[in-house]
């Protein structure tokens, strides 16, 4: 059983023989403030490994949840084995034969392997679990997966990560799943365990089971995948590409490239101060990024290009003091900042718009003005008493200058669209004396019109002398907005150049090169 069943994988992608088991047509799913899925097409055949590619926020997770019965699509059609379906809940999807293995395996650690495999549908007689029967069936399933050595009675807690993954798959098979969705299954595995995972996947597909495989690692997709569908901004930008033969650049540009022409503000030809505002020297956090040095001058926009997992967000948070570095220094205006102290960074004039707007930046139930003044309300206060009138006036001024819609500063932030929420976060740092603004994916989940406005806001800030350090996985955004570009890959800076000297292809090559060689941690 250790011999991989190669033939199916060897077949060219076009010749995937199986019938179409799953077909999604124009699936749309919206949440307050964001269109998570905006017309997704997907076709999966029996016995194939269908890879799903896309950046964070492209809609992969939402798509999985639609298939798993967690979310209901607003419009569009989901066809499962030839019939339109709408799953009322995850149990219904399970019963229909769609099993999902989430990245954080949803196993109960203190139950046995067999109990986990049959959780929720244990074989029963008059309310009593048929433990012997359950153990036998579990053993049979584990045998099918090529892991007969795992004892069904073993506690899941005692298994290594790879073993837990096998148990998740055993659970899928216990439901007679016809389609198994795997969300970044290799992320929790060591390198040599990935080969074993692939062997299991081949066993499954040989039995006619379809697999939707999600991963950021290009070489895995090359090895295990049959066809690839690429998502961007909730849309299918490419469907059913052959996994083996499609050039990496083509795939990545579908993931990150522009689907719409954005309007970038002109770079004004102003002289910049020669004094460095921010100097980062040899900053290191083990496992995240190594020996990063960079500078930002007043009035300059510096863009960092890099994929998810390149360490860019971690780097931003470390510069901001939200994470403590293992080595290296951060200096503002020549003064070294206390490591791991947001307070020190803010006092020195830094502000940050973090990657996850809702969970890291906003008090969603609080009014706009309180979110705008979150970092500055103490400055308006007298003897500890807040000056609400002044706060509202300042927030209104920011709302006007950023064209916040609506401009009613008493509204809860929850009711704003993604773009306007982002304006609130950026606007927070326009109050007070922010000298350096750190922007982590400032336009994620922001619609086209608001994007152009945000770009203008960022450029205006720079014109006023604020230094900006920008992270984006959208290469055109970095190239279009920044004065100087740094390319980050696997936790290291690999290139630095003025934006005018780089083009999209060059940056994409640099960004991707690493993941082709050894796979960036996702």
């Amino acid at each position: 059983m250790s011999e991989p069943t190669e033939p199916l994988v060897e077949a060219p992608a076009d010749a995937v023989a199986g019938e179409v088991v799953l077909r999604l047509t124009d699936v749309v799913k919206t949440f307050p403030g964001v269109r998570a899925l905006d017309g997704v097409q997907l076709e999966v055949r029996a016995g194939e490994v269908h890879c799903l590619l896309g950046q964070n926020g492209a809609g992969k997770s939402t798509l999985i949840k639609v298939l798993a019965g967690v979310h209901k699509p607003d419009s569009g059609q989901v066809e499962w084995r030839g019939e339109p379906v709408s799953f009322a809940n995850p149990q219904a999807a399970m019963r229909a034969g769609i099993a999902t293995i989430y990245q954080e395996l949803d196993l109960v650690e203190d139950l046995s392997v067999a109990e986990n495999a049959f959780l929720g549908h244990e074989p029963k007689v008059a309310g009593f679990v048929r433990r012997g029967h359950m153990a036998r069936r579990t053993r049979a399933i584990l045998g099918r997966l090529g892991h007969a050595e795992i004892p069904p009675g073993r506690m899941v807690r005692a298994l290594p990560a790879a073993g837990k993954q096998v148990v998740s798959m055993a659970r899928a098979l216990s439901h007679e799943a016809r389609l198994i969705i795997m969300d970044e299954p290799s992320a929790v595995l060591a390198h040599d365990e990935v080969g074993n995972l692939f062997r299991i996947i081949r066993e499954l597909t040989a039995q006619g089971i379809a697999v939707i495989y999600i991963s950021h690692r290009m070489e895995e997709i090359r090895e295990i995948g049959d066809r690839v569908t690429v998502l961007k901004d909730g849309r299918t930008t490419a469907a059913n590409l052959p996994a083996r033969d499609t050039p990496t650049k083509a795939l990545v540009s579908r993931m990150t490239g522009r689907t719409i022409e954005y309007v970038f503000p002109d770079r004004p030809a102003v002289e910049r101060a020669t004094e460095e505002l921010l100097v980062v020297d040899g900053l290191t956090r083990e496992g995240e990024f190594q020996d990063v040095s960079l500078t930002v001058r007043p009035g300059e926009i510096v863009g960092i290009a890099g994929l998810v997992g390149s360490g860019r967000s971690e780097l931003m948070e470390t510069i901001y003091g939200a994470r403590r570095p293992d080595a290296g220094t951060v200096r503002m205006n020549g003064r070294a900042l206390r490591p791991g102290s947001v307070d020190a960074a803010v006092k020195a004039g830094m502000g940050m718009a973090p990657e996850e707007r809702k969970s890291q930046a906003l008090l969603l139930g609080e009014p706009i003005y309180r979110n705008v003044t979150l970092a500055t309300f103490s400055r308006y206060a007298r003897l500890g008493f807040t000056d609400i009138g002044k706060e509202k006036a300042e927030a209104r001024r920011i709302a006007d200058s950023l064209e916040l819609r609506p401009r009613e500063v008493l509204r809860a932030v929850r009711t704003l669209s993604g773009g306007n929420q982002q304006k609130v976060v950026v606007g927070r740092w326009l109050l007070g004396d922010t000298k350096l603004l750190l922007l982590d994916e400032p336009t994620r989940g922001v619609d086209v019109g608001a994007r152009a406005e945000l770009y203008q806001v960022i450029r205006d800030l720079a014109t006023q002398g604020v230094g900006v350090l920008l992270v984006s996985s959208e290469v055109p955004e970095v190239l279009g907005l920044a004065d100087r570009v740094l390319v980050m890959r696997e936790g290291r800076m690999v290139r630095e150049a003025p934006a005018g000297e780089l083009d999209e292809d060059t940056v994409l090559d640099l960004v991707m090169a690493g993941s082709l060689m050894e796979g960036a941690p996702a």
Binding site: Q360, A361, F385, E403, R405, R428, E453
Partner: protein, 374 residues
Amino acid sequence: MSEDAPTSTATSERSAGLPAQSPPVDPAVTHATAGKTAAPRLSWWSGDGGEGAKRNLGLIGVLVALVVIGIATRPDLYSDSSWVWGNFLTILKLASVVGVVTVGMTFVIIGGGIDLSVGAIIAIAGVWSTTVATQNFGAGGMIFTALVVGLSVGLINGLLISYGKLVPFIATLAMLVAARGLAAEISNKQTQVSDNDFINGIAANSLLGIPLLVYILAAVVIGGWVLLNRTTFGRRTVAVGGNPEAARLAGINVKRHTVLLYALSGLCCGIAAIMLTSQATSAQAAMANLYELDAIAAAIIGGTLLSGGRGTIVGSLLGVLIFSTITNLFAINGLSTEAQNMVKGGIIVAAVLIQQVQFGSLGKFLRRNRATTA
């Protein structure tokens, strides 16, 4: 604050702050969520916004209903106007000690925590302030001791939670056990009688016909309201409880603030310890038993979100008053405390259920509104 109603959301207006070459904006896209809602108004008294004020009106409705039940069941008593006034003061007096504790508890819960040790802190502060040695220092020494002991124990709670990274539930549960143990140790399991006339007089005396205990409650409630709604401390409390990560990334010292919240709760317990000692003219290790449950229940009935980030002092006060009115209602009808506890339990469940229904329908309404305007 009458200028609170910006009316124009037109996209064509450009403000002076931005240069004129800003890119064109597609109004259909960016205007989608503007909706057609009017600007919510913020009156000077509703620091927490309209939502909390509406909920508090509901609680007042419940209070009125309880009084109506009282009138219906005992019309004989309610026909006597002097009895009605006296009974009103009785209810307030009943609410005073738990009310003070609930104010502190409200801050802790809004800040994202919980304090199970309040009853135990009252016990240790009460016992410590009535030892023979402390009583020798007179009323000032006793009050000082109670306040400092309460504050210190709260401080320990906060330090364990902030810097020891203990879960609030565990840390304060441990304190509940330990503080009562220490109180029993100090008092040698005896009831310590207070010989101090000033202390004993707090509960016995009135000013302008209103018991002094009610003044203390009023002072703590007003102080708490101002602290929550008008100071940076209150703003930080809401931020820390509502989204600790966002608060931290905005430069707020979340750990230090958490310590201060538990210290505040401890201080409130110190005040409550003096009030309770005065009422009983004594203190013992078993005093203020299960006050944590009353305080948490009152805060939750008052609309404080157990996960933090939302709550009002007025709501918590109304929660306490509802409880003491129920107790009073059962007392004047001569019913057992057992039946009373069952009703209280039911009211806690009902209050939370009603809040969930309100929030569910609010969310649905917003989604529908968005769907029609998008």
